[in-house]
Symmetry: C2
Subunit: 464 residues, 2 copies
């Protein structure tokens, strides 16, 4: 059946002025021709490197970004103390399997938060499952004493790769907890990566409230190795897999969120925040996750400082600590904001990589969403087309309150999981222009929210 | 002054059916989960390599793509002979400059079509200019006997990088011709690359009808080296630059456009074509330029072959020879189409890299453009937002006639000039998913044009 659809009559109200077009042009031009984000990322990635919570790198990153924010001449720059978990990977992990007398090495890494294997390593038969549900459907003796191999791949037909990630990350996060409950020996997870390559991808996992004696080691192997292991298992169900990791969960240590503020000239008690997370996993240097978000957020305040008039509302950059394995920084910031009765009206996070920005996703009311949709035409010259309702960012999530606008930058996501939490998440994987376009896109949104306020408390335009 | 703009009342007519949504979904799913484009590109790039017109690689690419099209079981596959220029780079070029007794090596490559330097190389004083216009404004003796260094950079504030390329490519294409006329010794051009790196980028140049004795050697140096040379010239106007290249323009040789066709079931005499160019420059393996466009175009016919019903119009894939240094393939195809009175209604080219597709640009009438704009909503789930009037592709340009629709795939362009015509345009720079998304996007557009026809001769929907 062929049908013709006749679209709706659409009344579009665009609430912005020609002056705004000029301001956005200047913001993009400055970011692309005289930006700081790439140089900052170079330092963060190449001079400091990985920044796992509680590590020396994380501490150096706190000091470096604090000192760079001070140089910008903001009204206030400070550190917000927060206790964070400290997990240490220890010596490089090893793994192999043996089939028909031959030994095959595997590219492996411990999952963040996992316990170690015994000193001599762990060895056993493997049971492959496509997820937690399939594992639970098996007989007890199919799991007990075995190494459970979670091999559900990311769904490649999904256009937005974060959806594909969401569809399989549960096996990484909770696989060991559930398998431990069933008496498994250990857990091996296929790395959540859409590409076939040799990088194992780490990431957080939990044991929940599982008794300590049921906590089993869990690790990720590369997608190529997951394919190989699965192929060998089809021929040899009895093959033996061994792995060795010496990671340790230590006592919590003190760390910091790094915060900088331009105090609002008209509504200093209305807060707009922009941020990313300062911590990273320990395998690469965390350039995409989330060095990019950190330097883009810093650039937002720098670019706003360069505007002719000071922001009306108080704009804060918040560089959150411990997004990766605890979210302690995000929780702490929200807790103190509440305690101090701070009125946060809008928050934006960049934590999806430093790729070409496509737009934003918004967690807000319909009224608020209508306002931001009205700004779409302003962004079109910069090829920013994506304005949709959806999630925002993990760190700003705890701030959520009625009437507030939470937003997440949405860069192109096709290559993100090639690098995510792996040793190849390094500076050379970030393109300067793509990073700078993201910073300019974020700055433009914050500029508009500062100028007009959120829809709920919109600043009515006055002739002047 | 702040103003509020009230938008227009907009009547949008969407001319497509729910069936189309299902077809597009299937096209994208198949391309992403069971596509051939990446495997074809792997062969073209890694087994064959570079494909400069008249080279062994170009001939192998003709044979390979022909045989792959035959395997698809198309109605017709044939080679269209075309005479092409044959230019050979010869041994690796060298260059240096000397200042204050020190020697600095430069990363250099001859421009395609350039003459060689004398056997012993060429050496002289350098005059830096920002373009042809500036050169022409100088006194004759400032140019005569000198090496002209064209150092105009791509404009980094332009969002669409092809515009930035368009703004400086004249110095590469015509710089040597104009400088030769003024008695210069040679020409060095800054590579058109938005990034600072060490890769020299080749590309076509012309001497026009300049007498042979005025034809001077021209070459490109990397952006890092252009910056270095310019900095040294500021301190030492008398510095000496030398370069050596042994390229040769040979006699034209016979080559081929590779063409495959699915003959239309209802309107076999209406032709829709999709293509890219089979030749590439010789420094990398031409994966982005234009291996990507070649395999995506082949994939369009494969994906259309897999549809339930045969296309109504005749769909041709045309793999053009010699886009890079002559456009002979494009001209030949158009010439024969005209001679045979073939009615070409629509043509699509992919020649802007294998990056995430953003949409299309259309060279067509307002009436035709209104039709394709009505299809936009169908593409939104695939994050295809860009439908604008503009250029299409060099190879399909000669086909242009009134009433015809010419279109170009528009992928994300931020990284394209990092690789364009340089040694790093290799297979590893192409992401599988991005390539596949492009192929699916192209297939979807061709599917719609086949089903509905162009606006001028739209197939009226019938109830069945």
């Amino acid at each position: 059946m062929r049908i013709f659809k006749i679209g709706l009559l659409l009344l579009s109200i665009t609430m912005f002025g020609q002056e705004d077009e000029k301001v956005l042009k200047k913001i993009y031009n400055t970011s692309l021709s005289d930006g700081m984000s790439y140089a900052w990322l170079d330092h963060l990635s190449n001079k400091i490197g990985s920044r796992l919570s509680g590590s020396v790198g994380a501490q150096k990153a706190v000091e470096y970004t604090q000192s760079e924010l001070v140089k910008l001449g903001l009204d206030r720059v400070w550190l917000q103390p927060v206790m964070v978990p400290k997990w240490v990977r220890g010596e490089k992990e090893t793994a192999y399997f043996e089939s028909a007398g031959k030994r095959y090495e595997l590219n492996i890494c411990a999952l963040g938060g996992s316990v170690a294997t015994p000193q001599e390593g762990l060895r056993g038969q493997v049971i492959e499952v496509q997820g937690i549900q399939e594992m639970k459907s098996l007989e007890a003796d199919q799991i007990r004493g075995k190494i459970v191999f979670f091999n559900r791949a990311m769904e490649e037909t999904l256009i937005q790769t974060f959806q594909a990630y969401g569809g399989c990350v549960d096996q990484r996060y909770a696989g060991a907890m559930e398998a431990g409950r069933l008496g498994a020996l250990g857990v091996i997870v296929r790395s959540p990566n859409l590409r076939l390559d040799d990088f194992p991808h780490t990431g957080s996992m939990t044991y929940g409230d599982l008794p300590v004696d049921q906590r089993i080691p869990s690790a990720a192997i590369s997608t190529n190795d997951a394919e190989m292991l699965s192929a060998y298992l089809k021929k040899d169900k009895g093959l033996q897999l061994g792995f060795h990791q010496q990671c340790i969960q230590m006592e919590d240590v003190e760390s910091y969120n790094v915060i900088g503020e331009i105090t609002g000239s008209e509504y200093p008690n209305e807060f707009i925040i922009v941020g990313g997370h300062l911590d990273s996993w320990d395998l690469g240097d965390g350039s995409h996750d989330d060095g990019a978000g950190v330097v883009q957020s810093m650039e937002v305040l720098r670019l706003l400082s360069m505007q002719e008039s000071k922001p009306k509302r108080s704009i804060r950059v918040v560089l959150f600590m411990n997004e990766e394995n605890g979210l302690r920084g995000g929780k702490k910031y929200a807790e103190e904001a509440k305690m101090n009765n701070e009125n946060h009206v809008m928050a934006l996070e960049s934590d999806a990589g430093g790729f070409t920005p496509r737009g934003f996703s918004f967690d807000c009311s319909d009224e608020e969403f209508a306002q931001v949709k009205s700004w779409e035409p302003l962004f079109k010259p910069y090829l920013i087309h994506y304005f949709e309702k959806g999630g925002s960012g993990a760190d700003i999530g705890p701030l959520k309150s009625e009437g507030m606008v939470l937003a997440g930058l949405r860069p192109d996501s096709q290559r993100y999981f090639d690098y995510h939490h792996a040793a190849n998440d390094t500076f050379d994987a970030v393109n300067k222009r793509e990073l700078e376009l993201g910073a300019a896109t974020m700055t433009s949104l914050i500029y508009l929210y500062d100028k007009y306020g959120t829809a709920k408390k919109m600043t009515l335009p006055v002739k002047n």
